[in-house]
Symmetry: C2
DNA sequence: CTGTTAGCGCCTTCAA
DNA sequence: TTGAAGGCGCTAACAG
């Protein structure tokens, strides 16, 4: 069970001091004479040396990790964000450490505490939820003291908190979608609104409703998941709402569930239009291809790390545009 | 810019020694008198103390992170695995640090080196590829020396390497699928085989072909992606292969691309059957619902961390079963 | 059971 | 430019 070679081993092998080895290997401002540098590098190579990042972090007082907290990594929405975050982090020479909240506020808080222990350079939160006002305050306090201790935090789609955030244009996109559907001739709308306490869901639902010429026929709440979309659509169908001809699900995953419900109930394609939000990668490949609001989620993730790493004064928000994509799931009347 | 409180601060605040504070906060074998314990905990709470994990790692000589390396986190296959890994890691009180190889062998190697710097308790590799024999050897050497230094490695779907691995039953599942399709009356098969150098892809393709009564009509290689599935199906269509009535794509993502190609080419549904592999979550929601081979990817991810954390002698492999799921994309003749 | 005191691996003044 | 030495935050003997 050989142990990892330490910097000391490398220095000895190269016949130089610890300090010189350190300077040669992990770029410091100071310059090392070329032949020494070469010798150190060779020794490191020979020994298979890799700097112990923990030790570096302790010594430098600053680590090279960015912590990412998502609700559910198996959800394509978060997966896309994570892809953007990892890409941007890698480009910046940072390592990403990930935790999953399982959509549970308490878990979210405890994970933030855990993550703080890593003294990450930045904490990125995607999809937080605040069922409870006290939970929310606890979280904010936790994040605030993290920031006070030198870290930076970036939120995705959570612009109402006092932190940097990348704001997806939920309202604008939803309103544009509503207008577009009206233009296509739809009149009787149902909304699969998702969780009432989730800001993102509420923004989408509210903006959509507000952009309609008359109030929606029905609004049903539920989880943010495929199955909830399925159940919601069934509920809509069973409620016997008269004149229902289009349903807006506040995200694609729910919309896909809704489509499945329509199919299972034998509702003829085209009878009830369905639209989603996010333009998740499979949206174009379901049948009928899903009308939705496109958002570059990967860019949002990348933007979040950029935001966290820059040193602009803190509550700055960058906008990620959203634009309507009409596909066959809303054929027009 | 207040700095993070250290254990020393907590000890002082509580009026005890550093050692006592350490013992009270971070469970050691030693017991601390109750009133001291309470005082320390209170002080820590008051100060908002969180242990510096890096420092702990340095002092203990062992960290609490498990490193996960995937090809592409936005791919549902890897997203599901990552979900399993994070769940199992969280349950074990470990933190997961993730890196993405972008399906690039060189990047994979350099990331493994990076990750080693974190001195993780375990490294989990999903979806490695070895285009080049030398790359492969480099990787193996790197992993071997990591293991020699006390870490454990677990591979997913890569059983031919000398490490612990969770083996998805690619061959068995593919063969069963082939038999099932034959039973349904299909006779003229095409295979969208994915990358020739990817073991997983090859196993699936080969086993499927071998289980057929007569050789497949056509085998086309390409990337492991939706777009490659699309292109591959087009190629099959354009080649004018006579008698083609079923296509096996070695993963669901490709199969979905293939389905899209069929649709875009106006091939009547049911004319050419399509089957995939993995039973990714949207597989049941595309149209027609996709016949595929179900694999519990999340369980595979969880199994990988279990494997890495146990202390059984090393090259042990755990099998994850795969079973055929017939859906409407292969209606039978 | 508690406190003192070496380290853990690395970085970074500070002299030389 | 180099090396010696102190320190980062924490743990783990080791005495008391």
């Amino acid at each position: 069970m050989a142990v990892n070679p330490t910097l000391y081993d490398v220095a000895r092998e190269a016949g130089v001091s610890l300090a010189t080895a350190s300077r040669a290997l992990n770029g410091s401002t100071r310059v090392v004479r070329e032949d020494y540098r070469v010798r150190v590098l060779a020794a490191a190579e020979r020994l298979g040396y890799t700097a112990n990042l923990s030790a570096q972090a302790v010594a430098r007082g600053t680590s090279s990790v960015v912590a990412l907290l998502v609700s559910d990594i198996a959800d394509p929405y978060f997966a896309a964000i994570a892809a953007g975050v990892t890409r941007a982090a890698a480009a910046a020479g940072l390592t990403v450490s990930m935790a999953v909240t399982e959509r549970d506020a308490a878990l979210e808080i405890s994970h933030v505490r855990m993550l703080r222990g890593q003294r990450p350079r930045a904490i990125i939160l995607a999809g937080s939820r605040f069922a409870d006002e006290r939970d929310r305050e606890t979280l904010v306090a936790e994040l605030e003291s993290y920031r006070a201790s030198g870290g930076s935090v970036a939120l995705i789609s959570q612009h109402e908190l006092p932190f940097d955030s990348v704001s997806i244009d939920n309202s604008g996109g939803s309103a544009a979608l509503a207008r577009e559907l009206v233009r296509l001739g739809y009149r009787g709308f149902g909304i699969l609104a998702g969780p009432a306490e989730l800001l993102t869901a509420r923004d989408r639902s509210d903006a959509f409703a507000a952009a309609l010429p008359s109030p929606p026929l029905a609004v049903v709440h539920g989880a943010f998941s495929r199955d909830a979309g399925y159940a919601g659509m069934l509920e809509l169908l069973d409620s016997g709402t008269a004149g229902l001809d289009a349903v807006f699900a506040v995200n694609d995953v729910m919309a896909i569930g809704a489509l499945a419900a329509l199919r299972d109930r034998g509702v003829a394609p085209g009878t009830i239009a369905v639209a989603g939000f996010d333009d998740v990668s499979i949206a174009a490949d379901v049948t009928p291809p899903l009308t939705t609001v496109h958002v570059d989620l990967e860019a949002a993730g990348a933007a979040a790390v950029a935001l966290a790493l820059d040193d602009a004064p803190s509550p700055t928000v960058v906008d990620v545009p959203a634009h309507v994509v009409i596909r066959a799931s809303t054929p027009g009347r």
